[in-house]
């Protein structure tokens, strides 16, 4: 281990992580959002210490709770709901009712950030949009995430999902194989990429607020986020007058870099510069490394053999990993990218950890998603100071509430109603 390697192993040691400060401590984020694009934005901020209050409709809550892979629920919750809803306080409020709107407004007055992903203009119509909420809180940073933006020809009530963005942006048209249909990326990449763009703008807006005290409105359309991420597509179209073609698994900028079939799966072979191309050609025993030569080299060899050959010769290679490879990957666990969480309600649950590793104020997963309205008492009692009687009255009027008795919404079987483990500190355990 070199000197710098030792320094980094110490600086990023997971053992010392819980004792380090959180960068966004003191930032309160109020989330009124569903699915991914919205919840993931707040989740990314929550990983670094922001307090996120997630508002859901009493009863069924965020409809993402019912997106369950192959209909599978674990301890009454969908594994697809968890990754974008960690470290949050879950409250159930019907903001369409006047008293619900009032509760939401009162929490917003005590918040630094609002994140929403409703159809454009909905929040304003409900009286809880940017214009209304900033009347008493001019420092509020308000992120309006949507498919097509808050204004413009396509903004009028047009709904969008991740794949709408993949489709209309042009991303799908350049993904896949020549002569075959365009390919939708097999995950909600438009949502998660959009969420990251949104979280970046929120942090930039908070930096501006540190100087001026002023908040602002952020209007981010997920299709537009993907347009920004299509690298040379637009210059190419403009200069040649042609569409960029689908190139399958070849990266046409760095031939013959690409993904190749090998004996035990698939492997990426990469030669980004002249030295790597020469090393690759040398390994292949040819004068110029072609895709055909790489394919025949890879076919009888395993992923590990090809990676090793690259390390010895001076080109680069890496396995095409799936979820199983990642889950069992010691490197990802040592980095907290696969995060081992001891959740107070669900027990041991492994999740994706924070992506950027920070040496002084690292991110962390403190608890995973909870049933609808699980933290009503903390938020309405603690933050807003409502008495038990006031809360009961609001519950009776169905302004606030907790989970419906269905999988996806309710607590695990055997758990007491409400946060039974309230005395137990929700914290990181590794």
């Amino acid at each position: 281990m070199t000197g710098s390697q030792g320094f980094f192993e110490r600086a990023f040691s997971l053992a010392s992580l819980p004792s380090k400060p959180e960068a966004l401590r003191g930032i309160r984020v109020l989330e009124l959002a569903t699915r991914i694009f919205g919840p993931a934005t707040a989740d990314y901020l929550g990983e670094f210490g922001a307090e996120v209050i997630k508002v859901e409709l009493p009863g069924t809550g965020d409809l993402m709770r019912y997106v369950a892979p192959e209909g599978f629920y674990w301890q009454e919750i969908s594994p697809a709901f968890l990754p974008q809803n960690r470290n949050k306080l879950h409250v159930g409020v019907d903001v369409r009712l006047p008293e619900g709107r009032d509760l939401f407004t009162r929490i917003a007055e005590k918040s630094d950030v609002v994140v929403e992903n409703l159809r454009a203009g909905t929040m304003d119509r409900w009286g809880i949009g940017y214009r209304q909420l900033t009347e008493n809180n001019p420092g509020l940073v308000y992120a309006a995430n949507s498919g097509f933006g808050q204004w413009g020809p396509y903004a009028k009530g047009r709904a969008s999902y991740d794949a709408t963005a993949q489709a209309v942006s042009g991303m799908s048209a350049i993904t896949g194989f020549p002569g075959h249909p365009p390919v939708r990326v097999g995950l909600w990449i438009g949502d998660f990429t959009g969420s990251l763009f949104s979280a970046i703008a929120i942090l930039a807006a908070l930096a501006a607020r540190r100087r001026t005290g002023e908040g602002q409105l952020i209007d981010l359309a997920q299709a537009e986020a993907l347009i920004r991420a299509l690298d040379w597509t637009w210059l190419y179209a403009d200069i040649t007058g042609r569409d960029r073609e689908r190139a399958g698994n070849r990266d046409v900028t760095f031939p013959p870099s690409g993904i190749y079939r090998c004996a035990d799966g698939f492997v990426a072979v990469s030669a980004r510069d002249e030295a790597e191309r020469a090393a690759l050609a040398n390994t292949l025993g040819v004068s110029t490394a072609t895709a055909e030569a790489v394919a025949s080299f890879a076919a009888p060899r395993t992923r590990a053999e090809i990676v090793r050959a690259g390390e010895e010769a001076g080109f680069s290679a890496a396995p095409v990993q799936g979820g199983r490879d990642q889950y069992h990957n010691p490197h990802l666990r040592a980095r907290g990218t696969v995060w081992e969480l001891d959740d107070p309600l669900y027990g041991r649950i492994d999740e994706f950890g924070p992506v950027p590793k920070l040496s002084e104020s690292p991110g962390r997963i403190k608890w995973t998603a909870k049933p609808v309205g699980y933290h009503n008492e903390e938020v309405f009692g603690g933050l807003l100071g409502l008495s038990g009687e006031e809360r009961e009255e609001l519950e009776r009027k169905k302004v606030i509430g907790q989970w419906a008795d269905v999988p996806g919404s309710r607590p695990p079987r055997g758990a007491a109603a409400g946060p039974a483990d309230r005395g137990k500190k929700e914290g990181t355990s590794r």
Partner: protein, 438 residues
Amino acid sequence: MSGFEEWAKEATYPKNAEEKPEALPGVRLLELSPGHFGGMVAASVLGEFGAEVIKVEPPGGDPARSFAPEGITIAGTGLPFLSEARNRKFVTLSLETEEGRGIFRRLAATSDVVVETVGCTRMDSLGLGYEALSRENKALVYLTLSTYGAFGPDAGRRVTDSDILCQALSGVPYVTGDPEENGPGRDYQVPTRTGNWHGWFAQGLWGAFGVLVALAHRAATGKGQVVDVAGAEAMMKFVDYNITWMHTAGRERQRTGRFDPAVFPYTYIRCKDGYTFIAAYNNEAFESLMHIIGRPELANDPRFCTGPDRTRIENEKDLHAILEEWSGSRTAEEILREIEEYTSKKSGHGAAVVTGRVNRPLETLSEENWWERGCFSRVAGTVYGGLLLAAPPWKMSGTPPRIRSVCRKPGADNDEVYSTRLGMTGEEIISLHARGVL
């Protein structure tokens, strides 16, 4: 236009951005990302919000300038570099010389952020690692981008970072593309990369995010730190519930092509003029869609009654074929209009029938919407002419991001940066240049 829409447009109109302040004025960023697109993305994003970005290139120019798909260049620079080289000052500096390394240290000492993609070990051996730089500048935020990250068992692996490596390790190709059917897969029935450099974009975006988090911490404490982003992990974060499903069910996500394990219909269907996306996966929306295609009885078909029924693979295939029977005789635009006409009378879950044409890039460019929204900018430059660029996607009322300048030649800003920032005289600069340091 509703009152809110009108107000929001006025408040966030990108063409008014120049009259407004920026979010990150005074943040000085030093970029060292030779031959690396992810590092450029990280610096660009911060630059779009107002950070002053100084890009350090070797005296011959950044190797990334020669990235040239189909061999296309403008005045010797390829399209990828031109697309991302916005909002920068371009200086040259040879880190092969002791003098050059000394100048880099002086630049870093007066910077808030360093972005590097050459690797911590290499930076350390040059005397430019975080430990060395932070000794002079305790508040420095140091972003390092690599394939595997700066620590952990694989951190020492010998690779030159690239988009394809980040993609392969992320798990995105693993779940993208057509599955094999009936025996050995055809050439296209394989794990499929995204056509764009999404691996490098995700890496750069997470880098910018990490820097902003670190700047927040610095504002509170005065302390800088290292931000370590592994490209492999950047897009991995986007692979939905891969890890939680493995943990809770021991199942990993597979490649399902047109089909989806959790929501259906949520797919592309062939139409008269190409392909369009169609989604209607909750019960109410599905019923709406069946009305729209003139098959209301299918809402009660035992194959399609509930979400779990609709996400059984054989039923997904049946439903896909039924949808294409309908869509084949319509254009994407006609499908959009039929759906909007129906859903505009609905509200709530029943309105969640969603569509959008699978646009080729030229089709996206031909749609007025994106131009009106300021998504594209044609920016004039002295060296490379006017360049069509994807603009910053955020519309912001207070401190909107913007493109201030486009690509220039290596060293174009040597005089300005070295004289104003480091106080060098013209003679010194000429001498350094003559000796190959600049």
